[in-house]
């Protein structure tokens, strides 16, 4: 902190409504800073994909072991709501890309508008998701109030779950009916968490944009949050057909 004896590289602001960007002390050029941030973030995205990779592996494995469970389970999901949510996320990816483009061309109000629309997309997605969960709750397929109740051991060595009641008996004919909904819940909940984190990041970026920190000379944070948002979208693009459409 007390070491400003070196000369910091400063990227000038393109206009009075923007602030100049000071390159971090250990970088020689803004390009080096940008490339470092970008490479680091791509690596982080790789770890995110691998994290979901474990869940996808579990999905494929149990789809293979209990195909009937997954067929009947998938039919309990409303593909129209899933498709709607897919469209919402795809649109929000477009608004995000436009937001990044506007930041790169120093168009402050346009950036704010597109980022705001992206947050709106995230909110719509979560609301639709909420109603989907609510329907599962009402059918006893995922009883959220009973989620963390202890495991009930049956005399024959099998177990029963408090959160899987299946009021209408739709999963009665297939083995381990809870399995589909456990995987559905885990995958969509972790994805939903990413949507919420992504929206939070976008809001944080909007504050920076309002202060004029991002412009043609420095837009890395907008770019990186954009990449994150596209990943959130991309993962959903795989989740939607696997959970809602695959027979």
């Amino acid at each position: 902190m007390s070491h400003d004896d070196h000369h910091a590289v400063v990227v000038p602001a393109p206009g009075p409504e923007f602030v100049p960007h000071e390159v971090a002390h250990h970088f020689s050029t803004p390009v080096q800073e940008f490339q470092s941030g970008k490479l680091g973030f791509w690596l982080f995205l790789a770890t995110e994909i691998l994290l979901f990779g474990g869940l996808f592996a579990a999905y494929f494995y149990f789809h293979e072991v209990y195909p009937e469970t997954f067929r009947v389970g998938g039919q309990q999901l409303d593909w129209r709501l899933g498709a709607l949510n897919t469209s919402v996320l795809l649109l929000s990816s477009w608004t995000m890309a436009m937001g990044v483009r506007s930041a790169q061309t120093s168009q402050k109000s346009k950036t704010l508008m597109f980022l705001g629309l992206t947050v709106l997309g995230a909110a719509i997605f979560m609301v639709i998701k909420f109603f989907e969960y609510k329907a599962k709750n009402e059918h006893g397929l995922i009883v959220f109030s009973e989620l963390f109740r202890p495991f009930i051991e049956n005399p024959d060595g099998t177990g029963s779950l408090a959160w899987f009641q299946d009021y209408h008996g739709v999963m009665a004919g297939v083995p381990h009916g809870h399995m589909f909904f456990a995987i559905y819940l885990t995958m969509t909940a972790i994805h939903g968490l990413h949507v919420v984190i992504g929206a939070g990041l976008i809001i944080w970026i909007m504050f920076g944009t309002a202060k004029g920190r991002f412009h043609a000379g420095y837009f890395m944070p907008v770019d990186l949050v954009g990449l994150y948002w596209h990943l959130v979208d991309l993962i959903w693009i795989f989740l939607f057909p696997l959970l809602y459409l695959v027979p």
């Binding site: 070196h6 691998l50 494995y61 072991v65």
Partner: protein, 552 residues
């Protein structure tokens, strides 16, 4: 050794202020706790992993003391499960994985590539605090009822036990991200922050090793993250995928776990290889034999290690063909590893070897790692493995790698860069004695375990049949000797900070960039941006005068 210190101090002219180094450039608690300087973060990591190592070592001594008698000396059988689990979990997750990259790697990697810092200094600090959070959570888990699953958390037991598995799982998840962020940072640093002239094949092999490690950290650790999360979900809301009562498959857990944890073995050992590569060259004053082969073998190990996880599961129930493939691929890893071992030996051969204490630790590594590596090939052999699986032979094998090789390499690196880090020298005599004690104690601990294992002593048992008593007692005595050696090492290292002699500017005669900066380095690492014009390990460029001059 204490008598001449005041004399030197008074001889320094009062008008001349001490040179500014990363240690004295700022002071106060926040100047450390909020630092972005990779060297200070490295020191904080060093303190952290050092404490974790001593705690893990204490648990190890308790395990060994308990096994003094066939019926067990100290604990109930259930408590014994907790003590060996604590030993394993602390050593693996809090010490061996972060130790070398976090402390020595953080300290020397930016110096070695000629950068002012790592590429993402804030992420580096975050990585340390995640480590600290993980350490606190792990300690909290002990308070909340402990954990008795072994460090491997095998399902279904980890799903059924009433201990604090969720807390320790969370600790492992957080520690995983600490490890990921260190690796990510190093990859970006190596790609983007090399000094002018520092081409890929002028990078010291420590950098190559840390780079290969980082690839593994980034690509393997997330899988462990999701695995421990899934175990936590199983316990919280019974997702069912690992729980056979709910139609799940416990073997799937083992696949997930070892998909990370086998590469993790190389996350642990590759940095150790890097240290040994540096040390055998510097202390033999000779360019490394087979520089490119060692560099590429690190990458080869990084890649092949993703394909061998099944060799941990030969008795778990996988198809015969899978077992053939995993056994065959396991042999493959031995090739790049052997290339390294032979290259090191060839480097020492006819070099002008200086038996400094770091070199003694490195030579001890060469002997111990040869045993540790070759017993790994024995265990990778399918039919032999079926006999030796889950016996003390496995325990002895991986301790030859984890403790004997990695920890000794860590000690070697610590002794090598200690004068660079602090500008102080420890007592070389005590260091050599400690190295000898550790070497003897280590072998005495684990050679009996090879013998017991080959005769069928199962691992993780709290009691044993009386025939094994002399072996267990020899092993326990060895562990106590080993503990004394480590205690001596801690003593003289701490003593050197208080009253150690000044180190030389270039204590050992290294020629990589980390020795081309003042000792200890200034806050921004170099007084002038380095330009690299020489090949790495070119000892004709060695400035002998810097080996005589005291560090300032």
């Amino acid at each position: 050794m204490t008598t001449n210190t005041p004399a030197v101090a008074t001889a320094t002219p009062e008008t001349q202020a001490p040179r500014e180094t990363y240690l004295n450039c700022s002071s106060g608690f926040m100047s450390w706790a909020g630092t972005l300087d990779h060297k200070r973060i490295g020191i904080m990591y060093l303190v952290g992993v050092g404490i974790a190592f001593l705690a893990g070592g204490l648990f190890a001594l308790l395990v060994r003391l308990h096994l003094w008698e066939p019926e067990g000396l100290l604990f109930s059988n259930l408590d014994y499960n907790q003590v060996f689990t604590l030993h394993g979990a602390f050593m693996v997750f809090l010490f061996v994985i972060p130790a070398i990259p976090g402390s020595i790697g953080n300290m020397v990697l930016p110096l070695m590539v000629g950068a002012k810092d790592v590429a993402l200094p804030r992420l580096n600090l975050l990585s340390f605090y995640l480590w600290l959070t993980g350490a606190i959570l792990a300690t909290l888990a002990i308070v909340l009822g402990g954990f008795d699953t072994g460090w491997t958390f095998y399902a279904p037991y980890s799903l059924y036990t009433d201990k604090a598995v969720v807390t320790i799982g969370l600790a492992v998840f957080v520690l995983g991200f600490s490890s990921i962020f260190t690796g990510l940072n190093f990859i970006v640093t190596v790609h983007k922050l090399r000094a002018p002239g520092m081409t890929w094949f002028r990078m010291p092999l420590m950098v190559w090793a840390l780079y290969s490690t980082s690839i593994l950290q980034v690509l393997a650790t997330p899988v462990l993250g999701i695995t421990v999360l899934l175990v936590a979900f199983e316990r919280l809301y019974h997702i069912g995928i690992f729980d056979p009562r709910l139609g799940g498959d416990p073997v799937l857990f083992e696949h997930f776990f070892w998909f990370y944890s086998h590469p993790a073995v190389y996350i642990m050992v590759l940095p150790a290889f890097g240290i040994i590569s540096e040390l055998v060259s510097v202390h033999s004053r000779k360019p490394l034999f087979g520089y490119k082969l060692i560099a590429f073998s690190s990458l080869a190990i990084a890649i092949i290690s993703f394909l061998v996880w099944g060799h941990h599961m030969f008795t778990s129930g996988q198809s015969t063909y899978a077992m053939f493939a995993f056994s065959f691929l396991t042999f493959f890893v031995a090739i790049p590893t052997a290339i390294k071992e032979f290259s090191w030996v060839a480097t020492v051969w006819k070099g002008s070897v200086a038996l400094n204490s770091p070199m003694l630790y490195a030579l001890a590594f060469l002997i111990i790692f040869a045993i540790g590596g070759l017993t790994g090939v024995i265990l990778g052999t399918l039919n032999v493995n079926l006999h030796l699986h889950d016996t003390y032979f496995v325990v002895a094998h991986f301790h030859y790698v984890m403790m004997g090789s990695i920890s000794l390499a860590f000690f070697a690196g610590l002794h090598h860069w200690w004068p660079k880090m602090f500008g102080k020298m420890y007592s070389e005599t005590l260091a050599k004695i400690a190295c000898l004690i550790i070497f003897v104690g280590f072998n005495m601990t684990f050679i009996p375990q090879f013998i017991m294992g080959s005769r069928g002593m199962p691992r993780r048992y709290a009691t044993y049949v009386p025939e094994f008593e002399p072996f267990h007692q020899a092993s326990t005595i060895g562990a106590i000797i080993l503990g004394c050696g480590v205690a001596l090492m801690v003593f003289y290292l701490l003593q050197s900070l208080l009253s150690g002699k000044k180190a030389k500017e270039n204590q050992w005669g290294g020629v990589t960039l980390d020795w081309h900066t003042p000792t200890p380095p200034p806050h921004l690492n170099f007084d002038h941006e380095p330009k690299v014009v020489h090949e790495v390990y070119d000892y004709s460029t060695l400035d002998y005068e810097s080996m005589q001059r005291d560090a300032t």
